[in-house]
C-alpha cells in the first residue's frame, strides 16, 4: 500500500470538506447515531491527514465495513431503496476515505462524490436542492482540477474554471432535458417530504379545526385559469363533505351510496389547472361544481373529486367547472341522512327552527340567514370556548362569536331541524392572485366551511352563512374580515405589502419550476414537441431537432472559442501562428502549462509525440527566432512549417 502521506495535507482536508458537504443533506435525514457512524471515518481520516499517522489496517477496515452495513440494515431493515441504499452509499464513501492513499483513489472518491450529489434529488427536488447540487458539482470539479496538479498550493482559479466548465455544459444539459425521452412514471415513487405530513383540512370538522389552519400560510394549491377567472367570492374550492353530526363533531359518511347524482351544468364554464401540493390524502379541490375531471379522478356521490391514490407528490390536474347547476337523481337514503340529527340537545335552536317548518324550503333558508344577520353575530378567529352538550345553543344564543366552521355547523343544524336536507362542505375560499405569473395561490389559511341545502327541483345548492355574518371574508379575504387582535400570519396581513409582493414574485419562480421542471413529463414533452412540429419520439423530425440542437450548440462553442481569444489576440503574426500550433497540440493532449517557455513546451510535446518530434522542434525554433530574434523571414518559415505539419 502506498504511503498516504504523499498526498498533500491541505488538499486532503479540502476533499474531506467537500465530501462532507455533499453528504450533508442525506445525513440531515438520518437518525443521529447513523450520522455519527458516517462522520467517524471522515473525522478519523481528517485526523490522520493532519497528524500524518498511519491509515488503519485491512482488518480494522473490514470490521468497520461489516459493522456499518449491519447498522444500516438494523436501521432500515434493507440495504436497498431510498433510505437504506443512500445510507449504505454514504457509509461506503466514508470508508473509502480510510484506504485512500493514491491520487487514483482520490479521483474515485471525487467521482463517488458526483454520484452522491446526484442522489441528493432523492431527498428533495426543490429549486434549492438543484442549486446545492450544482454548487457541489463545482466544488467536486474544482477538486479534480486541484488534484491534477502535483504541488500543494490552493488556487481559487480552479473553482472558477470548474464553474465555467459547468456553465459551458449547461446548454447541452438543457437540450437533453427538453428532448430526451421522459419516463411516463418515475422509476420509483418519491416519498413525500416529511414537512408536508399533517397539514390541510382534516377529515372531521369540530369547532377549532378550521381556525387552526388560518395560522398556516403554506400553499395548498395553485390555479391557472384559461380565460377569465371568476370573482373572488365565487371561488369555492370544494373538498370533503361532512354529513354526520354527533352533537360536537361533523363527520364524513363512512359508507357512500353507489349512485352518483346527475349534474346538469348551467351558467359559465370554467377551464383551469390545479397544481396541488403534496398531501396525505387523495382529495382534489375543484371549483364548485366540477363537471369534467382529469384522468384518474372520480366524483364521489357527495360530489367530491378524489384521485385514485394519495397525492404524495406535487401534481397537476385539469378541471372544468360550472358556476351554476341543477342536480337530479339524489337517492333517498342520502337525503334522509342529510336530515339526521342526534337525539336531544340544543333545545333553543330546535325551538327556533321548528318555527320555520311551515314555510316553503327556500324561505326557511332565507329566514335562517336573516336571523343570523340580525342578531349581532361576530366573526373571529379566537372565539370563546364552547362547553357542554348544547354547543349550538351556546353559540347562537350566548357567545355569538365564531368562525366559519361554527356558523356552517350551526346553520346545518338549524336547516335539518327545519326539515331542509343540509350538509357541511369543507374546502377553501378565495385565494390570492399573483399578477407576476397570472395565477392564483390558495393557502391553507384560506380553508373554509360552508353549507349545502337540498332544494326540490334544483338539487344541492350552496349557502354560506359566513357570508352573512362577515361579508368581507367572502369578498375580501381573511385579513380584512378578522379583528386586529386575532392572530394571523404576518404575510396575510395587507400592511406588509412590499413583503407580500416579494413573496408573490418568489412564489412565481417556484411555480414555474414546479410546472416546467418537476412537472415536465411525457405528456408535457409531447405537447412541446408538437409545437416544434414533431409528432412522436420515433419521427425523423425528432432526430433532426436533437442532432440540429447539438450541431447548433457545437457551432456556438466553436464560434465563441474563436471569438473569445480574439479580444486578446496577439498582433504579432508569429504569436498568432504559435497559438494555433498550441491549440492543435492541445487536441492531441499536449496541454501548455502556465509559465512554460516555448522551447520547453516543444521539448515536452516532442517527447509525447515522438513521430513529430523533429517538426515540432523546428516549428519552435522558427517561432523563437521570429518572436525573440530579429530574423525577418522566420515568421514566414514558421507559417510554412506549420502548413506541412500533419498531426
Amino acid at each position: 500500500m502506498a504511503d498516504h502521506r504523499s498526498l498533500p495535507r491541505n488538499k486532503m482536508l479540502a476533499l474531506l470538506g467537500t465530501l462532507a458537504l455533499v453528504l450533508a443533506p442525506h445525513l440531515a435525514q438520518m437518525p443521529v447515531w447513523l450520522i455519527l457512524v458516517t462522520l467517524l471515518p471522515l473525522g478519523w481520516r481528517a485526523h490522520i491527514a493532519w497528524s500524518g499517522q498511519r491509515l488503519p489496517g485491512r482488518a480494522i477496515r473490514l470490521v468497520l465495513a461489516c459493522a456499518m452495513v449491519a447498522m444500516v440494515f438494523l436501521q432500515f431493515r434493507t440495504l436497498i431503496g431510498r433510505d437504506g441504499g443512500v445510507m449504505l452509499l454514504a457509509c461506503l464513501v466514508a470508508l473509502k476515505l480510510l484506504e485512500t492513499t493514491t491520487r487514483r483513489d482520490v479521483r474515485i472518491l471525487t467521482l463517488l462524490g458526483y454520484f452522491v450529489a446526484g442522489t441528493l434529488f432523492l431527498v428533495s427536488q426543490s429549486f434549492w436542492m438543484l442549486a446545492y447540487v450544482l454548487m457541489a458539482c463545482v466544488l467536486l470539479t474544482g477538486q479534480l482540477f486541484a488534484w491534477q496538479r502535483e504541488d500543494t498550493r490552493f488556487e481559487p482559479e480552479e473553482y472558477r474554471r470548474a464553474l465555467r466548465l459547468l456553465l459551458e455544459g449547461l446548454p447541452v444539459a438543457l437540450l437533453l432535458f427538453v428532448l430526451y425521452p421522459r419516463l411516463a412514471a418515475p422509476l420509483w415513487s418519491m416519498p413525500a417530504d416529511r414537512a408536508q405530513a399533517s397539514t390541510g383540512i382534516s377529515d372531521t370538522m369540530s369547532p377549532g379545526s378550521f381556525s387552526d389552519l388560518t395560522l398556516d400560510d403554506s400553499v395548498a394549491f395553485r390555479v391557472d385559469f384559461r380565460g377569465l377567472a371568476p370573482q373572488r367570492d365565487q371561488l369555492y374550492w370544494r373538498g370533503p363533505v361532512f354529513e354526520r353530526f354527533d352533537g360536537h363533531t361533523w363527520l364524513q359518511r363512512e359508507f357512500a351510496p353507489a349512485s352518483t347524482p346527475t349534474i346538469v351544468p348551467r351558467g359559465r364554464t370554467l377551464d383551469y389547472t390545479i397544481t396541488l401540493e403534496p398531501q396525505q390524502r387523495a382529495w382534489l379541490f375543484a371549483l364548485d361544481l366540477p363537471t369534467q375531471l382529469p384522468q384518474g379522478a372520480r366524483l364521489t356521490s357527495r360530489l367530491q373529486a378524489v384521485y385514485r391514490q394519495p397525492l404524495v407528490n406535487r401534481a397537476r390536474f385539469d378541471f372544468q367547472s360550472a358556476t351554476d347547476w341543477r342536480i337530479d337523481n339524489q337517492d333517498d337514503t342520502s337525503l334522509s341522512q342529510a336530515l339526521a340529527l342526534p337525539q336531544g340537545g340544543n333545545p333553543r335552536a330546535r325551538a327556533l327552527a321548528q318555527g320555520w317548518r311551515d314555510l316553503p324550503p327556500q324561505v326557511r333558508v332565507a329566514r335562517a340567514l336573516v336571523w343570523l344577520q340580525s342578531n349581532g353575530f361576530a366573526y373571529t378567529l379566537a372565539p370563546p370556548l364552547l362547553e357542554g352538550p348544547d354547543e349550538v345553543d351556546q353559540l347562537l344564543f350566548r357567545t355569538r362569536e365564531g368562525f366559519c366552521e361554527h356558523y356552517a355547523g350551526s346553520f346545518t343544524f338549524l336547516m335539518r331541524v327545519a326539515g331542509v336536507p343540509a350538509r357541511v362542505v369543507g374546502g377553501y375560499l378565495g385565494g390570492e392572485y399573483n399578477a407576476a405569473g397570472d395565477y392564483w395561490i390558495v393557502r391553507q389559511a384560506d380553508a373554509h366551511a360552508w353549507v349545502e341545502v337540498w332544494l326540490e327541483g334544483r338539487g344541492w345548492q350552496r349557502v354560506d352563512p359566513t357570508a352573512v355574518v362577515a361579508p368581507m371574508r367572502v369578498s375580501g379575504g381573511l385579513a380584512r374580515s378578522v379583528r386586529d387582535s386575532d392572530r394571523l400570519p404576518m404575510l396575510l396581513r395587507e400592511n406588509a405589502a412590499w413583503l407580500a409582493n416579494l413573496r408573490l414574485k418568489w412564489d412565481n419562480v417556484i411555480y414555474v419550476w414546479d410546472r416546467w421542471v418537476i412537472g415536465y413529463d411525457t405528456q408535457r414533452q409531447l405537447q412541446l414537441l408538437k409545437k416544434l412540429g414533431v409528432d412522436g419520439l420515433d419521427s425523423a423530425l425528432y432526430v433532426a431537432w436533437l442532432v440540429g440542437g447539438f450541431a447548433l450548440i457545437l457551432a456556438a462553442y466553436t464560434l465563441a472559442s474563436r471569438w473569445m481569444p480574439r479580444s486578446e489576440r496577439p498582433r504579432d503574426p508569429a504569436a498568432r501562428l504559435w497559438r494555433a500550433f498550441m491549440r492543435r497540440l492541445a487536441q492531441r493532449g499536449v496541454m501548455p502549462r502556465l509559465g512554460e517557455g516555448p522551447r520547453d513546451f516543444a521539448a515536452r510535446a516532442a517527447a509525447l509525440l515522438p513521430g513529430h518530434a523533429d517538426a515540432i522542434r523546428q516549428i519552435a525554433n522558427h517561432y523563437l527566432a521570429a518572436r525573440y530574434g530579429d530574423a525577418p523571414d522566420a515568421a514566414q518559415q514558421l507559417a510554412k512549417a506549420l502548413k506541412t505539419l500533419r498531426l
Binding site: A575, P598, R599, D600, L624, Y628, G629
Partner: protein, 303 residues
Amino acid sequence: MAHSFSPTLAQLNRVILGKEDQVRMALCCLLARGHLLLEDLPGVGKTTLAHALAATVGLRFQRVQFTSDLLPADLIGVSIYERDTGRFRFHHGPVFAQVLLADEINRAPPKTQSALLEAMEEQQVTVDGTSYPLPEPFFVIATQNPQHQIGTFPLPESQLDRFLMRLELGYPDGAAERAMLAGESRRELVAQLQPTVGPTELTAAQQQVDKIHVSGPLLDYVQALARATRSHDALSYGLSPRALLGLIAAARAWAWLDGRDHVIPEDVQAVFPGVAGHRLVQRASGRVAPDAALELLRTVAIP
C-alpha cells in the same frame, strides 16, 4: 553561433563534478560582468569553484579569508611612508586582482564588507584622495555560510543587491560524490588547470554578450515577472530596476553560452532563480526566499 567557451565549461565540469548548472551560471555571471555570491555549507566546493574558474579563464586570482577582525585596509591596501623617497607609497591590497575570492564574507564586520562592496560597484578604490582603478575584468566571488550559523554578520539587502547572482551548490549527487572520492584531490586538479581562454578573449566575449538581441516580447516577460514580484502578497518588496538590468544581462550571457544571438524566455527562466532569489525577501520571516522565484516562474504567463 559557436563560442569559444565550450572547452572552459568542459574543463570546469571535470573539476566540479555533477554541478553543470551552477558552473554554467557562474560563468554566465562572469560574462555578464556581475559578481557572484555562493551561499552554502562549508566543504561543498565553493572555494574550489572559485579557484577553478579563475584558473581556467587565465585570470589573476586572489583569495581573502574574511574574519571578524579583518579591516578595510587589509583588503584594499595601505599607504606606507617610504623613507628612501620621503613619500607615501600605496601598497595594493588583495582586492587588486582579476578574480577575488572573498571567503566567508559574512564573518567580516559590516565596515569591511561595505569597503569591498564599494569597490565592486565603483570598479576602483580611493585611498587618501587618490583613486586606483581596479583591473579589468574584475570579478568577485564571495562565499557565505548560511546565516543561521553562529558568528556571522548578515549582508543587508542593499548590499546583497550588488551581487548579480546568488548560487547554492548543495551536496553532490551519489555518483558525482563517488567519482570525486575515488579520483584525484581537487586541489591538485585545480593546480594542474591550464587556461582555455585569456583575459582578452573574456573581454571580447563580454562585448559579444552585450550585443545579444533582446526583443520587445522578451522585455514584456521580464516586466511581467517584475510586476509579479512587486504585487506578491508574501514578499516584502519586488525586484529593483537594477535587478532587472542584471536579469537581462545574465539572460544574454546564458543565450550566448547556448550559441544563440537572441534571448528567449527559457534563458530568463534559467537565470531568474539565481538573479532574483536573494533579492526577494519573505514578508513573514524576513529572510530571503529563493523558492519564491521558482514559484513565480510557474505562475507568470509568457506574453
